[in-house]
Amino acid sequence: MAEHIIESIYRFLPEIALTVTLVAAIVADLILRERNRHVAWVVLAGLAVTALLVLGQRGWNVSIFSDTIAVDPFAVFFKAVLLVAGIFIVLFSMKSRELEINSSRIGEYYMLITGVIFGMFLMVGATNLLLMYLAFELASISSYVLAGFTKSLRRSAEASMKYIIFGAVSSGFLIYGISLLVGVTGAVDIYGVRDALQAGVEQTNALYVAIIMMIVGFSYKITAVPFHFWAPDVYQGAPVTITAFLATASKVAGFAMMIRFFRISFMDSGVLASPSFDGAASIVPWHLILAVLAAVTMLAANLMALWQENIKRLLAYSSIAHAGFILMGLALVTDEGISAMMIYLAIYLFMNMGAFYVVMLVANKLNTEAIADYEGLGHRSPFLSVSMAIFLVALAGFPPTAGFIAKVYIFGATISAGMIWLVAVAGLATVISLFYYIRVVRNMFLVEPHESQGPVQYDTSSVIILVLLLVPVLLLGVYFSPIVNWAKQAVTMFGM
């Protein structure tokens, strides 16, 4: 046992590094006192170290801490993605003017960011149902606070309130579902669930309820319609850095957990849908539920996005819609689909982050989030607008941006799995999505600015951050074999 624990600890170094970072941040906050914004550097350093450690985990495929958490290529892939998101969010936060409203507490802000990342790390690796729930809560609780970080703003306060209520109820559903699943299968980890399902489960209805309740819990995290309602309000109310974080990293982690759960417990057990539900073997058409959720999500979110006036809110709906696209991959019950999801998530991270970053810069300078105020921006700040246009175009899925590759893979996997109706819905949704993305682009470029509006200035570091985001969005559009290969290999070496 002791060796196992030592071994486990060795395999657990990135997470430990994150914990250390958290502690270091607390200490730094105490030491630095009024210069506490420099905590960001501590966190950045910690994340960098973590990144190194994560890189060292490549190729590992072990299950540690008595099968509670897995360190496999799949987890490493997502950890890498989450770290990138985390690093960018910290960078964003250092540039954000909005956060200065509560600048005296900025130390805590970075601690909570670290905590969220830690929780997400656990989410992507967790194979134990309890740990899944714990990680879920860990990431959530910190997020609730972060959403309300600029607490003197009414919208921020409201956002955190809505977030926590919806989140708590959803996690209630999740744990209730877990309790039933545990009761039905008698296993507390997903391998046990898999084995039990393989052996056959008699309590079909209870299993149904359990799975549906868990899907409700997951769906909240990944903002699938109709469990997405919190998202637009929270995304709009939260500080833009946190919105970016929630819209990307949080979703990525949610998807990772969901994929692992369904992949191991259901796909590996060979428990797929069958037309008859009266058989003794418990067969849950979970993938059909997911498919319908994905379709509804894509359509509803895109339709609702059409009329938005607030850019953050628009991006919120856009990110909900993207969740729909991504969810398609899981509904296919193929590894193809899962690898497509991974590719999509990684790419989605960059383009969405980029869009939010521009939104933040604009808010910093112009103090506005209204889409109407983006009119003429293309003439006032070409670089910013062109970047924004590229991100939006990528989100819409145009070649030669990475967004196109993401769509290609997810659509391709869906077609390959034969779910033509789903891909047709996705195509329709894509067309609808064009309307609102292009509207922003139109405002930026096709409308002349008023004469009183001068150019918008930004500093070099902002440009560097933007370029760092632009490069992958463009590069992955024309050369994407590394990420595709990585994703595919990660899926191949899944779990145990």
Partner: protein, 688 residues
């Protein structure tokens, strides 16, 4: 002379006018005298060459042709090769036609030097004449259908350009447009006919097509298709030769300069249809030829009835041209091949003469009116003329010869050819029982004599409408009168046959031997020996009849207009409706305007409306979505206005709007929706 050099000579003839066109269009304005000498000179040279060609060809044993590959299709493994050749065929038919075209063209060039002196676009005019001559020659000397069609259209273009020469006048540009479009209608038919031929035979060459037909290879293996092809190709002739029902453009085309009318709309281009039918004669089945004959007959009669009541000197001549073209077409239709074509040749001379003569009259009238600063009087209205005999003797005498020729009075060329046509129709009716054809032919002959002399008398005899103007009218200069004299000379019988009462012994008739029909015997027309026999039987009768009828017509006109023994007004009043119908060209223009022009315009409006309202719907809606939320309400209004597809786009947007409303801001509402989602999934899953 080697026969190959015929080809080269004909190429030279062909390209000289083109060279004239190109030089004049680019450099004309900078040349001395705007380059009229260049155009005229080149055409004169070309005329000389064409004469050489004619003599060599008449002496030669048979036709010569040569071609080159214009385009090649297929030819890869598995697919046979299709070569599309363009080339030249010189035989008696084309050699004669070549000379006719060049001669008239040359004379018209000379005449134009006087007639168009001082015109704004003087060099442009000669350039276009060159272009026309080139195109016309192309039709004449080609050895395939495609090239014929190509030049066919080019002739239409030059006609368009020349009719519209004075395009500042709305009526001129309208007439040009009308000419082109009406011709296009005929050409479309011709194009379809050519397609039928080509798609089956994979060649455009006359020889190859006739050869294949003779071998019993029919388009789509059907005689009906062959007949259809023939009739469709003939549609081209209907357009170009102004046959009923596409005859409406020719009178309007008189808006062009008068020499142009002489060249294009009397002598050559309008005869191209006749030439084409002659050229493709072996292709036509008996049924097709019958259709052709009737079209010709109807045209001849229709135009003649209209010509009787017109007052514009050029319009009368225009209708008479149509009528004569109908004659020629009818002749070919009944199988009187040589007669029809001969009439083309003789008609070319005297009708060009008539037009040039009328041009001279108009020129003189115009000059006189100009001197009096009278801009209201119509220089072309014969009611404003009269008594010109004394002032324009050369014109008078030449005009008289032309009028006699067209009326078919013996000793003229017109008598020779018309006589043969009448004989042909009568012979045909004895063979087939279509007695209507000779009836029309003879009636028209009488009417022609009548209306031509009506024109002649009203113009040159009697009192001038405004006697004080008469002294101002002067004879035209030599450059204009000499062509008239040349043409008058050519309207004498001796140039065509030494026997003034029988063309069939003349060189021209002999040279124009009717080709053998290539169509299967069952649908072929009566062969030439059979028809010739019938003609021989009726020939004497016809000759007597035709002379009687022509003289009767002449005499009647003399009585009415010279002697005033019968009042023309009273006759008109008695005729009542008939008179008005004739005066108004039987309302063809009005009818076409109402049906086709307005119909098309209505169709365009409908299409446009459909395009803007119905089809455009979806994107209208879509575009509005992106144009901003600020206009939502206005946009919703549009929902109910725009079309069906628009509705769909709006529907999408509306769903978006509705869906948005559930985002109330109340967290508990959200939870309820989520719970509903949960409940629905659960119930669905547990129930099914």
């Amino acid at each position: 002379m080697a026969l190959e050099s015929l080809i080269q000579l004909s190429l030279v003839t062909l390209f000289l006018p083109l060279a004239g066109f190109l030089l004049l269009i680019f450099f004309g304005k900078r040349m001395p005298r705007q380059g009229d000498w260049l155009g005229t000179g080149l055409v004169t040279v070309a005329f000389a060459i064409s004469l050489v060609i004619l003599f060599v060809q008449l002496a030669a044993p048979g036709p010569v042709s040569a071609g080159f590959t214009w385009a090649t299709f297929g030819g890869i493994p598995g697919i046979g090769e299709v070569n599309i050749e363009l080339g030249i065929l010189i035989d008696n038919l084309s050699a004669v036609m070549l000379v006719v075209v060049m001669l008239i063209s040359m004379l018209v060039h000379f005449f134009s030097i006087g007639y168009l002196e001082g015109d704004v676009r003087y060099s442009r005019y000669f350039a276009y004449l060159g272009l026309f001559t080139f195109s016309m020659l192309g039709i004449v000397i080609t050895h395939n259908l495609l090239m014929m069609y190509i030049f066919w259209e080019l002739v239409g273009l030059s006609s368009y350009l020349l009719i519209g020469h004075w395009y500042e006048k709305k009526s001129a540009s309208n007439a040009a447009m009308k000419a082109f479009i009406v011709n296009r209608i005929g050409d479309a038919g011709m194009f379809i006919g050519i397609m039928i031929i080509f798609v089956h035979f994979s060649t455009f060459s006359f020889d190859a097509i006739f050869g294949a037909l003779s071998a019993g290879n029919l388009p789509f293996e059907s005689q009906a298709w062959l007949t259809a092809a023939g009739i469709l190709i003939f549609c081209g002739a209907i357009g170009k030769s102004a046959q009923f029902p596409l005859h409406v453009w020719l009178p309007d085309a008189m808006e062009g300069p008068t020499p142009v009318s002489a060249l294009i709309h009397a002598a050559t281009m309008v005869a191209a249809g006749v030439f084409m039918v002659a050229r493709l004669f072996p292709l036509f089945t008996a049924d097709a030829l019958l259709v052709i004959a009737y079209i010709g007959a109807i045209t001849a009669l229709l135009a003649a009835t209209i010509a009787i009541t017109q007052f514009d000197i050029k319009k009368v001549l225009a209708w008479s041209t149509i009528s004569q073209l109908g004659y020629m077409v009818m002749a070919l239709g009944v199988g009187a091949y040589a007669a029809g074509f001969m009439h083309l040749v003789t008609h070319a001379a005297f009708k060009a003469g008539l037009f040039l003569g009328s041009g001279a009259v108009i020129y003189a009238m115009h000059a006189a009116l100009h001197k009096k600063h009278d801009h209201d009087t119509d220089a072309q209205d014969i009611r404003n003329m009269g008594g010109l005999k004394s002032r324009m003797p050369v014109t008078y005498w030449t005009f008289l010869i032309f009028t006699l020729a067209i009326s078919g009075i013996p000793l003229t060329s017109g008598f020779l050819s018309k006589d043969e046509i009448l004989a042909g129709t009568l012979a045909f009716s004895t063979l087939s029982g279509h007695w209507l054809l000779p009836l029309i032919a003879f009636t028209v002959a009488g009417m022609t004599a009548f209306y031509m002399f009506r024109l002649f008398i009203l113009t040159f005899h009697g009192e001038h409408a405004q006697p004080e103007r008469l002294p101002l009218i002067n004879e035209v200069p030599g450059v204009m009168s000499i062509p008239l004299m040349v043409l008058a000379t050519l309207s004498i019988f001796v140039f065509y046959s030494f026997n003034p009462f029988g063309a069939s012994s003349g060189w021209l008739f002999q040279a124009l031997e009717r080709p053998l029909s290539a169509v299967p015997e069952a649908v072929a027309p009566a062969t030439w020996p059979v028809l010739y026999e019938a003609i021989s039987r009726v020939h004497t009768l016809v000759m007597i009849l035709s002379i009687v009828i022509a003289v009767a017509g002449l005499a009647f006109a003399w009585l009415v207009y010279q002697k005033r023994a019968i009042s023309a007004e009273m006759m008109a009043a008695k005729m009542g409706r008939l008179y008005h119908g004739s005066r108004n060209k039987w309302y063809f223009d009005e009818m076409y305007e109402a049906v086709f022009v307005n119909g098309t315009l209505a169709l365009t409006r409908i299409s446009n409306w459909f395009d803007a309202r119905i089809i455009d719907g979806i994107v209208n809606g879509a575009g509005t979505v992106t144009q901003g939320v600020s206009r939502i309400s206005g946009w919703i209004d549009n929902t109910f206005i725009d079309g069906l597809v628009n509705f769909l786009a709006n529907f999408t947007g509306a769903i978006g709007m509705r869906l948005r409303r559930i985002q109330t801001g109340n967290i508990q509402t959200y939870l309820v929706f989520a719970l509903v989602g949960f409940l629905v999934i659960t119930i669905v899953l547990l129930t099914f």
